[in-house]
């Protein structure tokens, strides 16, 4: 346990009790024990775990669902050529969806801290208001950022709406910022100095791709190509949704590609302020159509997951 070890004895490169992969493994084990499906990262570029269909679609409709997964999340505009010790163009989120949100969800969350090696009884854990909104997904929620000894370690949201649809039941979404937490637990001053696992640090695993992704996003990406593909995928998404039986997942995937293309154009400085709202609106329109099509599809299928309502979490 970290708490039995005096802080300050860790040095860069030294294998600590809580390396990044320990964190992932213990959180996965914990939420698995709570009855969650342990999903895998979505195999597309996304800006946040919220865009994973396991979140965006599963929170819709009446069916209960509990799931956890790690999602590498790309924010090209946050990339810093591997020079800034706190910012990454691609970071790891651990996302947990509990639907419906259990009455004791905050207590469960505190137990997950214990599973990570943080004993809440010796720390300050506070839930400070921080509401979440995604104009791209037509989604918003109410909740907090969780502060551990002053450090923001988790975004905790009760989803109220997704794809423009009012949700019922309500899902709780917990998003752990994994690099942040590892930095904090290891008391490192740079993301690149945290230990990933097996004695290898984060910088050795990821620094080079941060440098390259930054160069690509800020200097190299072909704006005309991005813009063209934005339109291509928009048409493709519409085609998927116009099928006699709408193709929900391919439609959503096309919309997610548009979202990433938008983020790249934005990082490249190619999105005029006036154009911004319109481009986001085009993605949202498709996300909203996907959400509706998904709910209709589940209804046609008779909401198969309703049968196992009252899962263990």
């Amino acid at each position: 346990m970290l708490d039995s070890v005096p802080i300050g004895v860790f040095h860069a490169g030294e294998v600590s009790a809580v390396d990044l992969q320990d964190l992932i493994l213990s959180l996965s084990r914990f939420w698995s024990d709570q009855g969650c499906i342990i999903q895998q990262p979505y195999d597309l570029e996304v800006g946040a775990g919220t865009m994973h269909p396991e979140t965006f679609l599963r929170v819709l409709g009446p069916e209960p669902y509990n799931v956890a997964f790690v999602q590498p999340s790309r924010r090209p505009a946050d990339a810093r050529f591997g020079e800034n010790p706190f910012r990454l163009g691609k970071h790891l989120q651990m996302q947990v969806i509990l639907k419906p949100s259990p009455h004791e969800v905050q207590d469960l969350y505190l137990k997950s801290l214990t599973a990570m090696g943080i004993d809440p009884s010796t720390h300050d854990v506070r839930f400070e208001e921080d509401n979440w909104e995604s104009p791209t997904l037509g989604a918003w929620g109410v909740g907090w950022q969780v502060l551990l000894d002053g450090m923001e370690i988790t975004q905790f949201t009760y989803f109220q709406q997704a794809g423009g649809i009012d949700l019922q039941p309500i899902a709780a979404e917990l998003t752990y910022g994994l690099e942040r937490i590892a930095m904090f637990l290891q008391r490192e001053d740079s993301i690149y100095d945290i230990t990933w696992g097996g004695g290898v640090d984060y910088g050795k695993v990821r620094h080079r791709d941060e440098v390259e992704l930054s160069r690509y996003a800020f200097h190299v990406a072909d704006v005309e190509m991005l813009r063209r593909h934005f339109g291509d995928w928009e048409r493709e998404a519409a085609r998927c949704l116009e099928q006699e039986e709408p193709l929900v997942i391919p439609g959503l995937e096309a919309a997610l590609k548009m979202s990433h293309l938008f983020n790249l154009m934005d990082a490249r400085g190619a999105v005029a302020v006036t154009e911004r709202v319109a481009l986001i609106g085009r993605v949202r329109k498709l996300a909203v159509r996907c959400a509706r099509a998904y709910v209709e599809q589940r209804e046609r299928l008779g909401f198969p997951l309703l049968a196992r309502q009252g899962g263990q979490a």
Binding site: D124, V125, R126, F127, V142
Partner: protein, 691 residues
């Protein structure tokens, strides 16, 4: 009347900005509805923590008193036969009321004798009524944002976890039966989430103090005022330990009070290399990201800060170490931005403002920079102010350049401040960097105005330009004012009044509108005049009719407008101003009926008009002299001397007479009086007041 009620909602963490208003609504809602239920004179107090909303009511009776009620039935002649025996109607009525026929009485009604019965109605108990009131008051609480959870059936500020509702006299033993947001009331609650999460029995508490004491033992300080006092005391203690004092920050303290159940504080350390950062950057980083109080030594920021913690202690030092580490990370980020920004001069960033939109219809901040430079120069020249025009122009040129710095990108609230810091570092003259630093002052009605004339002119020009560009399309309405135009106009007024800055705002509004080639210059003047009226009534403290009288005469040079309003407010209690108001109203009415001609004094021969003529000449001389000495009160008294001659004039003289030449001369005299008055105020607007 010795009964009391305690209601406590235990929720998940409630946003800090919702709590003060929730307490107010609870106090007002309970007081109002208790009064309506006939429970007058109760004392209602609301308390809160980040997880609790609490109401305590004292001075309640056990219930409503029993009362008798008379219920009338059928007419007497339909209920009883002439020989006095009951009919079916009487029997039916008695049965319906649950009494025997013997208990029926005859009463006189408006339509003759009626059968009636007197019944005893039992008063309802206080818990019954309190249950109803609670459901109503809690159900109608208004929060900035509400949410649903779980099955999604209920809506509230945050999910509810416990509902404590107790009633009693010396000890509160009765659980008031309640259903709220899916929970049933009980006689216990839970303590602090981490320090003492177990259940706490509350039945049998003797009052609020006992309730608070039991919570305190479980790590919760439920009275927000107590938390504030303890936070302050603890802050001073922690500061004194390291030989420092706490830099006062009442707004932040207000917020910290609402963020916790227990008012804990830890002292964090700032690495010495960060103390070289500009103080504003240091303080903003700590305040913005960490909600931390700053410590100072000899007036300078010291190497410590205080962070709030929702717990009484820090057993293993984790909290202080964690907060210091996070502060270090944030300050490293800020240092990184500062170093990045310092690689280029502020002046070299100006062209990049072409890429920052000011408004979709009005171009970029580079366009705005050009407009403000021009307008600022115009303002300074037309008011013939002793300002270095080259400095003013340079300040206006650089004013918005910090919008494209990394630091302002991160901390928007440092705009202006950073510009000042970078301009100073670039060796711009003091007059220039200070003006840049002060351009957003004052933030509202509170707060200081710019320190220098250059800064005052820049601030006024920038805001008038914003008004000129945006007023037509972004007019504020009700609570909507997305571009903060009201605040901008009020800041213009405040700077002019308090710097003081003798520019003519009417002319300045026209210049600003012309500069933007914007329509609606008149509307902007009216908008600024409205803010000036607000400033006169709320800050200067004159009555609305005084402000109207002053502004109706003429306005624009705000220091003069303020001086005239102060003077009129001071003298208006004098009775003579009532007479003067009436007389001047007559002057203005008559002047609307005939066009005044040139004043040929030789035509005026009636004693009353000769007298008025000479009184006007005297008054003109005295007003001129008094205004020369900026003695507006004396000038108003000089006007007051015209009250009596005017009164006689209107009694003895027919102004609108047949002879056109004479009529013109008399109207001319009145026009001269009107001009004289309007140098000070349109006193006809003073409200006749019952003394």
């Amino acid at each position: 009347m010795n009964h009391q009620f305690l209601l406590a909602l235990l929720c998940e963490e409630i946003p800090a900005n919702a709590l003060p208003s929730a307490r107010r609504q609870l106090e007002e809602g309970f007081a109002k509805r208790l009064e309506e239920a006939g429970f007058s004179g109760c004392i209602v107090r609301a308390y809160s923590t980040v997880r609790r909303l609490v109401v305590h009511v004292q001075g309640l009776p056990a219930g409503q008193p029993d009362r008798t009620e008379e219920i009338t039935g059928p007419p007497a002649r339909a209920a009883f036969t002439p020989d006095g025996s009951p009919t079916a109607a009487a029997v039916g009525f008695a049965r319906g009321q649950g009494v025997s026929v013997d208990e029926l009485r005859i009463v006189k009604g408006p339509k003759g004798d009626m059968v009636a019965v007197t019944r005893l109605v039992q008063g309802r108990t206080a818990p019954e009524i309190l249950a109803e009131i609670t459901a109503e008051v809690v159900g109608s609480l208004h929060f900035p944002k509400t949410m649903r959870w779980g099955s999604g059936e209920h809506t509230f500020v945050r999910p509810l976890h416990n509902l404590l509702a107790l009633f009693g006299a010396e000890t509160m033993e009765t659980v008031v039966p309640l259903e709220l947001l899916g929970l049933t009331s009980r006689g216990s609650t839970a303590g602090h989430r981490v320090v003492a999460p177990g259940r706490i029995e509350m039945r049998g508490i003797t009052g609020f103090a006992d309730y608070a004491a039991r919570l305190e033992a479980a790590g919760v300080v439920v009275d927000h005022e107590v938390r504030r006092a303890r936070l302050l005391a603890r802050a001073e203690e922690l500061a004194a330990e390291v030989g420092c004092t706490v830099r006062p920050d009442p707004a932040l303290l207000d917020e910290l009070v609402e963020l916790v159940e227990h008012p804990g504080l830890v002292r964090g350390k700032i690495a010495s290399r960060f103390l070289e950062l500009p103080e504003e950057v240091l303080v903003t980083t700590l305040r913005h990201h960490q909600k931390s109080l700053v410590l100072e030594k000899n007036g300078r920021v010291a190497g410590y800060f205080l962070a709030v913690a929702d717990r009484p202690d820090d057993p293993q030092g984790h909290v202080a170490r964690g907060c210091s580490w996070v502060a270090g990370a944030r300050l490293a980020d800020a240092s990184f931005f500062y170093a990045q920004d310092r690689k280029d001069s502020l002046a070299s960033r100006v062209p990049a403002l072409a890429g920052v939109t000011f408004h979709r219809n009005w171009g970029s901040y580079l366009d705005k920079t050009g407009k403000v430079r021009h307008l600022a120069g115009q303002l300074a020249r037309s008011a013939e102010l002793d300002v270095d025009l080259a400095h003013l122009d340079r300040a206006a040129e650089l004013a918005k350049a910090d919008l494209v710095t990394a630091m302002v990108g991160e901390f928007a609230e440092l705009q202006g401040v950073m510009g000042g810091i970078y301009a100073l570092a670039d060796n711009e003259p003091e007059d220039v960097w200070m003006a840049i630093a002060d351009q957003y002052r004052p933030a509202g009605l509170e707060g200081p105005v710019p320190r220098t004339l250059t800064g005052a002119l820049l601030g006024v020009a920038d805001r008038l330009d914003t008004l000129a560009a945006l007023y037509a399309s972004e007019k504020p309405s009700g609570s909507k004012d997305p571009f903060a135009l009201r605040r901008a106009a009020l800041a213009v007024v405040k700077i002019c009044a308090e710097f003081p800055l003798p520019v003519d705002l009417v002319r300045a509004c026209r210049d600003a509108a012309a500069n933007r080639a914007a329509a609606g210059g008149d509307a902007i003047e009216e908008f600024v005049q409205d803010r000036l009226r607000h400033y006169l009534t709320s800050v200067v403290g004159v009555r609305p009719d005084v402000a109207d009288a002053v502004l109706a005469a003429h306005w624009g040079v705000v220091p003069d407008d303020v001086a005239r309003a102060r003077a009129l407010e001071a003298v208006r209690q004098d009775e003579v101003f009532d007479a003067l108001a009436i007389a001047f109203k007559r002057v203005r009415n008559i002047l609307t009926k005939g066009a005044p001609g040139t004043l040929d004094e030789s035509l005026l021969t009636v004693p009353a008009e000769r007298e008025l003529l000479s009184a006007v000449a005297t008054a003109e001389a005295r007003v001129g002299e008094s205004l020369g000495e900026a003695d507006h009160e004396a000038a108003l008294h000089a006007l007051a001397a015209l009250a009596a001659p005017l009164d006689r004039f209107f009694t003895d003289v027919m102004v609108l007479c047949e002879d056109p030449a004479l009529r013109q001369a008399r109207l001319g005299l009145l026009a001269r009086i009107e001009r004289l008055f309007l140098r000070l105020a349109d006193v006809s607007r003073l409200a006749a007041e019952a003394r």
